[in-house]
């Protein structure tokens, strides 16, 4: 299985997410993550999808089927262009006076931030590639991860050209 990041520009209309998620389930596509948000244009929403596919052929199917949805304006495979891929993660980790210093050191190495602290735990904010996030999770496991919240990956191409002009 190979993973690809797709950037999907859609009309900001009710029902759009129903249509996208409905199609994904109907065609039994494997989705690693999905997120959506407003863009520089008020009536356009950007949906970021990370798909898992067997091969190029399956990826082509995903893109062609999604393209058929009426409210999809544009769909670009960011795996095909040089792009930056990020995910934001909030980690709630067990902590006490003894472990706090070690935790802080690890967070620094990963260039994360401790954004909340209490006698029993810390909340760590970290962004990065999936590899980096897996690595910090592995390191934090020794202190006990109480909870994880992840946004799923979003991606943007390098250079001045936006997805809508690709």
């Amino acid at each position: 299985m190979k993973k690809y990041n797709l950037a999907i520009l859609v009309d900001n209309k009710p029902g759009v997410l129903t249509h996208v998620s409905g199609l994904i389930s109907r065609r039994a596509f494997n989705i690693e993550s999905i997120s959506a948000g407003y863009t520089e244009e008020t009536d356009v929403t950007r949906i970021n999808i990370e798909v898992s596919v067997e091969d190029k052929h399956e990826l082509e199917q995903v893109i062609n089927q999604l393209s058929k949805l009426i409210d999809i304006i544009k769909i670009v495979n960011l795996g095909e262009v040089d792009s930056i891929v990020r995910e934001l993660v909030l980690l709630k980790v067990r902590a006490n006076r003894e472990t706090l210093k070690d935790i802080r050191n690890i967070v620094d190495v990963f260039r994360g931030k401790i954004v909340d602290i209490s006698p029993e735990n810390v909340v760590i904010e970290i962004t990065g590639s999936q590899g980096k996030i897996e690595a910090i999770c592995e390191m934090m496991a020794q202190f006990e991860i109480i909870e994880i919240a992840r946004t799923g990956t979003i991606a943007i191409s390098r250079g001045p050209v936006p997805v809508k002009n690709m």
């Binding site: 009309d11 129903t18 409905g22 089927q65 058929k68 949805l69 009426i70 409210d71």
Partner: protein
């Protein structure tokens, strides 16, 4: 112009040249039906919403226009589901207008509330929930545009109850402005050039046509290509009628119950030139062994169909309305004397077809279903529209009825919906009153929308219903015979129903035909009589649809039963 939402809908339908609507009223659409009443808008009250949606579908298939139906919220709308899915699978243009509970009640599990946009998302080309009356004209304009352009399909417009009664300043938009959908599907001419080049170099080319050819209205040009090139033709169930079944180079339907020659030709050809077909599993049999010696050309309006099931060497992406005229011209220019080049191949497939036609026992001492269809085919004129239900009778109709023109063989292909026949036939008859409409149905299928006999009777819709009464759910019975050791679980119908009396009770004529004595004369009289008639033809239960390619087997591995 000041009007309310309900009036705005009817006005918009008029502008879309809708001349009839099928539907069923209820609480959420009271205002819409009040407008229908006041405007005397042509409307057929079916006896079930499923009848309405299939009737709209039959209307659309017979004409190529967008079929329209109305239903109320909740159960009214959910009763449309089978019909919407049927239309979606066969790419039929349709607009279904459903009432939704009023705005303040949405999301509260209110009386007769169902999430119709959610439910119909996987079975529509597009759908809308309209909560503000100002959106109505734009939404209706878009819905018709989406339904009929490109690869057609059903569009659902779900409308909150209060929208129907809200007054507003009505104006119908002149244009559609959808950023993600232009409705135009024009491809690259180089792709057609490459396809023609491949045809030029082929030794054993074969045309494979599907429902897309019917839908695009390009079968006339296609016939010209066939005539000038001599390339033999096979079809999917949905492509029947694009080429007359009696044409010499026409080898018939391909696939599970396809003809011997069609299936063998696929396996032997070196170029399969496909137009508007989607390589359904009922067509291909074992996918990895499909057309093993052939490269594939695929003319297709839906990009997602290219390479979906079979790898395509020569894709021609684009609407056939665009590609067909170019293709014909290129063929005329570059395939001079082509018939000579492929003469041996053509003669070979025609000989196969003559040697192994669809066959049945001509010496039987009862009426056989195949013979019944063949006889009807002989008795009716070239403009007759045939509609089928689903089962063995559907396959026999595909095999033994001589389909002569496009849009005259209406059948639920993709979804295989029992109960499609009667209502779709009504829709077809209302669309084409000057054409004879014959529906072939089964004793199982007919009961699934039997209530529509009342609609036929009350609206004088002259449909001739040929009931292939074999006392079994024949198609399932056949599978149980072949693959489940003759364990006929729930497929034998020793029913006490008297279909002739039932027809009469509903207000149409009923005739029974049993035994070979006077068979043809009685059949002819019933088909030529005035008014809707149910012809109950008693048949033996044991006939199989043959040839048959077992599911998952390859096409040249047919049970012939000769």
């Amino acid at each position: 112009m000041l009007m309310n939402g309900a009036q705005a809908i009817l006005e918009s339908l008029r502008r879309e040249e809708v001349d009839i609507v099928f539907g069923y009223p209820g609480g959420a659409v009271l205002d819409l039906y009040d407008a229908v009443y006041q405007a005397k808008f042509p409307h057929i009250l079916t006896r079930h919403e499923q009848g309405a949606v299939h009737a709209a579908d039959g209307y659309a298939r017979a004409t190529g226009k967008v079929g329209v139906c109305f239903a109320t919220s909740g159960p009214g709308a959910t009763n449309l589901i089978t019909g919407i899915a049927t239309a979606n699978m066969d790419s039929i243009p349709m607009v279904c207008i459903t009432g939704q509970v009023g705005n303040p009640y949405i999301g509260k599990d209110s009386f007769q509330e169902a999430d119709i946009v959610g439910i119909t998302t996987p079975i529509t080309k597009h759908n809308y929930l309209v909560k503000k009356v100002e959106q109505l004209p734009r939404v209706i304009k878009e819905a018709f545009f989406i339904a009929r352009t490109g690869r057609p399909g059903p569009v659902v417009i779900d409308i909150a109850k209060d929208v129907f009664s809200t007054q507003f300043e009505y104006e119908y938009p002149k244009t559609v402005n959808l950023r993600g959908y232009s409705g135009e599907f024009t491809g690259k001419e180089e792709e057609i050039v490459a396809a023609v080049e491949a045809i030029k170099n082929a030794k054993r080319p074969l045309f494979f046509i599907g429902g897309g050819l019917t839908l695009s209205g390009q079968s006339r040009l296609f016939r010209e290509v066939v005539k000038m090139s001599g390339i033999p033709v096979i079809t999917s169930l949905m492509g029947l009628g694009c080429v007359p079944s009696s044409d010499e180079g026409f080898l018939g339907m391909v696939g599970m119950h396809g003809s011997y020659a069609a299936n063998m030709a696929v396996q032997q050809c070196d170029l399969l030139i496909t137009l508007g077909a989607r390589f359904d599993d009922r067509v291909t049999g074992k996918l990895s062994a499909f057309a093993p010696n052939a490269k594939i050309v695929h003319f297709e309006v839906d990009k997602a169909e290219i390479n979906k099931n079979v790898p395509v060497e020569y894709p021609v992406f684009g609407d056939l309305r665009w590609s067909m005229p170019i293709f014909l011209n290129l063929m005329i220019r570059s395939c001079d004397n082509y018939e000579k080049q492929i003469q041996e191949w053509r003669e070979h497939v025609i000989a196969m077809n003559k040697e192994h036609p669809f066959a049945y026992n001509h010496e039987a001492n009862t009426i056989l279903p195949q013979q019944l269809i063949e006889t009807v085919s002989k008795l009716v004129d070239d403009d007759t529209i045939v509609v089928t239900d689903v089962g063995q009778h559907q396959m026999w109709a595909a095999q033994f009825f001589n389909s002569r023109k496009p849009r005259q063989f209406l059948t639920s292909g993709g979804l295989g919906t029992m109960g499609y026949g009667l209502p779709a036939a009504m829709g077809a008859k209302l669309a084409k009153p000057e054409h004879k409409v014959v529906v072939f149905t089964g004793d199982g299928s007919v009961m699934m929308n039997i209530q529509e006999l009342a609609t036929m009777a009350d609206n004088n819709i002259d449909v001739k219903i040929v009931l292939l009464h074999n006392s079994v759910l024949g198609m399932v019975y056949q599978w149980q015979k072949l693959f489940y050791g003759h364990r006929f679980s729930n497929t034998i119908m020793d029913t006490k129903v008297d279909f002739v009396k039932l027809a009469e009770a509903m207000g149409i004529k009923g005739v029974r035909i049993q035994g070979l004595d006077g068979f043809e004369a009685n059949l002819q009289a019933a088909l030529e009589g005035e008014g809707a008639t149910l012809i109950d033809v008693i048949l033996p239960p044991n006939e199989d649809v043959l040839p048959m390619v077992a599911p998952g087997a390859q096409l040249d591995n047919m049970v012939l039963g000769e």
